[in-house]
Symmetry: C2
Subunit: 91 residues, 2 copies
Amino acid sequence: MFRALDDETRRLILDELASRDGQSLFEICTVLTTRHGLGSTRQAISQHLGVLEDAGLVTTERRGRTKLHYFNSEPLTAIFQRWPIAREDAP
Amino acid sequence: MFRALDDETRRLILDELASRDGQSLFEICTVLTTRHGLGSTRQAISQHLGVLEDAGLVTTERRGRTKLHYFNSEPLTAIFQRWPIAREDAP
DNA sequence: TTGATAGGCAAGCGTTCGCTTGCATATATT
DNA sequence: AATATATGCAAGCGAACGCTTGCCTATCAA
């Protein structure tokens, strides 16, 4: 899961899914190229989604021939369960 | 900083510094070998500490010929500032 | 059935990473 | 001054990573 986060393209995919859940592979591809100027191919994004899915950061659901992707923040909780994170309360 | 977290040895170093701050390079080396069974050399740990320091996860302070290392959680806050993390309140 | 759409699998390539090895620098200690 | 201690710098190597390319499977539409 730490490996999954260690790539800016994958982090952008998480950004995109966090802002709009349930997107297909092609939707994510077009959004990344238009909004973030990414020139990645479909296969590259597909592999990134595979890594994110293996890490549990993305869950999927088949809808006919399309595959919907959802952001799942649960694995991230392991980070601040492992290390003490100073939370500054708003003054 | 995401890259710095993407290595179990570096995560163990953060564990160690989080539990006991202000350790030197040699102290960290011995603790890693004894407590975690790591067989890494001093140079390997030194490079890991360099990565952690570059990421801001570790701050240092020279004390004569030794260099003390401190855990700094501040960069980690960027993670849950970037993505919404479901915090389950204890029941 | 035919064609188009959405996605999957796998080999190959260049780059980066983690580690080792060897030498160098700086600060104590005697 | 001479020695030991604590760390730094850099080249080299094998492995893992990200990406491309090419082909294959499954689902929907006409």
